[in-house]
Amino acid sequence: ENDAFRNPLFQPQLEYWLQTKRPLIQPYEDMPVSMASQLESSLLNCPDSLDADTPHLFQTPLSLPHPTSIFFPNETIRLVSSDHSNPPTQSKHNDIYSRTFLARIMSKFDLDTLFFIFYHYQGSYEQFLSARELSHRGWQFNKVNRCWFYKEVEKLPPGMENAEEITWRYFDYQKSWLARRCGAEFVYREEEFERI
């Protein structure tokens, strides 16, 4: 009486579906040969981590033209997991990414490399990780001008009028590809910065 059995679109496949219920209702005492060989076959075809990886049908081209871009491959390198011999040490950065190979290697990258990944691999997991690494290093992302800013605090020798001197830097990704000092007119507005 069930609707599914009366839908011609479900015939004849429904039969195969029903057959799979039998061992659930009446379990076999010993594994039949057919089941054993299907199990073996399943073991042989066992999906691996590449099968389980996130699909990317559209390969994002490099997002901005850059003079050195011809030296960088378009594809991300499939990094192979190395051993996890080092136990976590930093409590501040103890998130789900910290133990991945990619995040750990990014912690060794130059700022230059991190900025390149950030601006040229937009929307990618790699961009996300570079932003995370920059954030860990104290950089902040300005939503308005899309630049990364860094607050440099210099402790002044005792006896000076102020205890510390603050300078702001930003990374100029559009023209010079350098970190530049902000002018005296720069005012830090918290709402302009992305909370990462």
Binding site: L50, A52, P88, I96, Y125, A131
Partner: protein
């Protein structure tokens, strides 16, 4: 009698003696070491 679980925990990235406990299921590659030879992309979110 079971086995010494230290290498199994190690392969999972679990360090019981460490003060900091990190979640491992979000980057779990596969139930078996043999099929975990590459890392998988975990969930992440990028602001607009």
């Amino acid at each position: 009698l079971g086995i010494d679980l230290s290498p199994v925990l190690h392969s999972l990235g679990i360090h019981p003696n460490s003060v900091y406990r990190r979640k491992v299921l979000d980057t779990f590659q596969s139930p078996w070491v043999e099929t975990s030879r590459s890392e998988v992309e975990p969930r992440f979110f990028t602001p607009d």
